[in-house]
C-alpha cells in the first residue's frame, strides 16, 4: 500500500510551540498558554487563526475556570474569533486536533490554532485525585473511591495474571521513556533509570509503582493548522501534513467492557486512521502513544497491531521501542518522563511527531522518520484520538 499523495486540501502544520513540562508557580493558566501560542505563530506570522480550539481537562475542577476558549482567544490577542474548549479527559488534545481537522476539511475556516493547556499544580493531593476521577464513571466508579491510577493498577494486575508475565514485565516502558527524556530540554525528568531503580520504586497502587505512573504537571502546547493551498511556500521546514485523523469511543467505565484488556476503541481508531492514510501498520515509522501508565503502553501497542495480545510488553524488553528499534515510542520521554500534561497530551504528542518528521529531533531523532502516528487516550481507552502525520519528503 502507498500513502495517499499530497493534495491541495491537505491539513498541514504551519507552526508549533510548546513550553517545558513542569511546575509553574509564577504564571497563570492564560500566560502559560500564551507562551506556546506565541511560539507556534512565529511559524507563520502572517497567518491569523480564524478559530481556536483549547484542549483541557482539569481547569474547571482545579482552577475554577471554565470557558477557556474565549479566555485564551482574548488573552492571545485574538478577540472576536471563533473559540471553544474541547474536553475528552486525557484525549482532549487529540480530540481538539480532530475538530481542527474537520473544520479545515469542511472549508468553513482556513486556519485553526489548537492549544493544549493544563495547569494542575495550584492544587495538591486529594483534590487533584478527585479532579482526575471526574473522567471516570462518577456513579459507578468514582463513588467507590477510584482514580485513573486505581483503574490502571487493576488492568495491570489482570494483564500480568492472564499472560503469566513477570512482575517487572512493564519496566522496559519506563526505562525507555526516561532514556529518551534525558536529551529533551522540555522534559520534566531528564534522568535515566535502570531496572534496579524500577525494582526499588515505591508502590503507588499495587502493582503500579512510581515508575509505572506518569507525574502530572503543568504545560502548554500549540499547533497552528491550515490547508496546503493557503500556506506560503517560503517556510524553512519541510511541509508536514495530517494524513489521517480518527476519534473513537468505548465504554466510560472499564467494568462495562466484556474484556477490559482489549482496547477496542484504540484498535478501531488505528484501523480508521490507516484506512484514511491508505497504509498498513508496518509503514508507521514511530508511534507517540499515551503512556500515562506503563500498562497503557502495552495495551495500546497490542490494540494498534504492533504486538499480539499479551505480547506488547515484550517489545519493551527486546529494544523494539527504542529510537533505533522497529517501532520507537515515547521518543521525547512520553508522559512518563516528559511529564503528564493531562488534556494537553495530544498536542504535545503531535508536536513531537512533527519535530521527528522535520528531522529536528536532534539526539532524539528516529532515523528516516517519514510517517508518524500519535494517539491519546481519555481514561483507560474510553476515548481514543489517533493521528497520522507525514512529511512530503
Amino acid at each position: 500500500m502507498a500513502l495517499n499523495r499530497p493534495s491541495e486540501d491537505d491539513v498541514v502544520v504551519a507552526g508549533v510551540g510548546m513550553t517545558p513540562v513542569g511546575e509553574y508557580w509564577d504564571i497563570s493558566l492564560r500566560e502559560l498558554a500564551l507562551r506556546s501560542i506565541t511560539e507556534a505563530r512565529q511559524g507563520a506570522p502572517t497567518l491569523r487563526p480564524q478559530a481556536l480550539f483549547v484542549a483541557n481537562m482539569l481547569a474547571a475542577s482545579l482552577s475554577a475556570q471554565a470557558h477557556l476558549g474565549t479566555l485564551i482567544a482574548d488573552f492571545a490577542g485574538l478577540r472576536g474569533i471563533e473559540a471553544v474548549a474541547i474536553e475528552a479527559a486525557g484525549a482532549s488534545g487529540g480530540a481538539a486536533i480532530r475538530q481542527a481537522f474537520l473544520a479545515l476539511k469542511s472549508g468553513s475556516v482556513e486556519s485553526v490554532l489548537v492549544v493544549g493547556i493544563e495547569k494542575v499544580t495550584d492544587k495538591v493531593g486529594p483534590l487533584v485525585d478527585s479532579a482526575l476521577a471526574t473522567g471516570t464513571d462518577a456513579d459507578y466508579e468514582g463513588i467507590q473511591g477510584i482514580t485513573p491510577t486505581t483503574q490502571a493498577a487493576m488492568l495491570m494486575r489482570r494483564y500480568l495474571h492472564e499472560h503469566n508475565a513477570p512482575d517487572d514485565a512493564l519496566s522496559g516502558f519506563s526505562i525507555n521513556a526516561h532514556t529518551n527524556a534525558v536529551t529533551n530540554p522540555n522534559a520534566m525528568f531528564r534522568r535515566a533509570i535502570g531496572l534496579k531503580q524500577y525494582h526499588n520504586a515505591p508502590m503507588i497502587s499495587d502493582p503500579v509503582n512510581m515508575f509505572d505512573a506518569a507525574p502530572l504537571a503543568d504545560g502548554a502546547a500549540s499547533i497552528l493548522l491550515t490547508r496546503r493551498e493557503l500556506l506560503s511556500n517560503n517556510s524553512q521546514h519541510p511541509c508536514i501534513r495530517i494524513a489521517a485523523s480518527a476519534l473513537t469511543t468505548s465504554t466510560l467505565a472499564i467494568h462495562d467492557r466484556p474484556d477490559p484488556l482489549n482496547f477496542r476503541a484504540a484498535k478501531q481508531s488505528v484501523e480508521n486512521s490507516l484506512n484514511m492514510a491508505g497504509i498498513g501498520i508496518e509503514q508507521i515509522d514511530f508511534f507517540e502513544l499515551h503512556d500515562q501508565f506503563s500498562i497503557l503502553a502495552a495495551l495500546s501497542l497490542e490494540a494498534a497491531g504492533f504486538a499480539e495480545r499479551g505480547k506488547g510488553w515484550k517489545l519493551a524488553q527486546n529494544g523494539d521501542i527504542q529510537l533505533q528499534g522497529e517501532i520507537p515510542i515515547s521518543t521525547f520521554g512520553g508522559s512518563k518522563a516528559r511529564g503528564d500534561i493531562g488534556g494537553a497530551t495530544g498536542v504535545f504528542q503531535a508536536i513531537e511527531v512533527v519535530r521527528q518528521l522535520q528531522g529536528e529531533a536532534q539526539e532524539n531523532q528516529v532515523p528516516n522518520a517519514q510517517i508518524g502516528m500519535s494517539q491519546c487516550l481519555g481514561g483507560m481507552g474510553s476515548t481514543v484520538a489517533t493521528h497520522i502525520f507525514a512529511s512530503d519528503g
Binding site: 459507578y140 468514582g142 463513588i143 473511591g145 487493576m154 495474571h161 497502587s205 499495587d206 467494568h255
Partner: protein, 132 residues
C-alpha cells in the same frame, strides 16, 4: 442536588438492581435501558445475586477527596456470577490475602461522607465468601 443524585441510585447501591434484555437475555449492571449486545430496549429489572469473584484489585493509599479517612482501602473489579463486571471496594478482608478469583459476596457499607452537610452515602461493597 447531591441528595437526589445519590437517592435515585438506591436500588443499585443497596440491592444491585440491574436489567435483563428481553431479546437476548443479556444481564446488565449498571442498568442502561439499551442492550449493548443487541441494541434493543432492555428495561426489565433484574436483581443480581450479589455473588461473584475477584477479576482484579488494588490497594488505594492516595485517595481522592472524600475518601481520605478510609485509606488504605482495596478496590476490585468483581465478576458477578450472572456475568457483568462491577467496580467496588472490598471489605472485611481479615488475614487471608485477596487473589484474582477469590469468591466474594455483596454487603452494604458506608461508601463516603459527602460535602459540607456530611451526608453519609451507603452502597455495595464485597467481602470474601467462603464455602458454607
Amino acid at each position: 442536588m447531591e441528595v437526589s443524585r445519590h437517592w435515585r441510585l438506591n436500588k443499585q447501591r443497596y440491592s444491585l438492581v440491574g436489567e435483563v434484555c428481553p431479546h437476548c437475555e443479556h444481564k446488565l449492571f449498571p442498568p442502561r435501558d439499551i442492550c449493548p449486545d443487541c441494541g434493543e430496549d432492555a428495561r426489565d429489572l433484574f436483581e443480581f445475586s450479589g455473588k461473584g469473584s475477584v477479576y482484579s484489585f488494588t490497594t488505594v493509599s492516595q485517595a481522592p477527596a472524600g475518601f481520605e479517612e478510609s485509606v488504605p482501602y482495596t478496590v476490585a473489579i468483581v465478576q458477578l456470577d450472572e456475568g457483568p463486571l462491577v467496580t467496588a471496594q472490598l471489605t472485611d478482608l481479615g488475614d487471608k490475602p485477596v487473589e484474582i478469583g477469590t469468591p466474594v459476596e455483596m454487603v452494604t457499607r458506608k461508601l463516603r461522607s459527602d460535602g459540607d452537610q456530611g451526608m453519609l452515602i451507603y452502597g455495595y461493597k464485597f467481602r470474601p465468601a467462603f464455602a458454607a
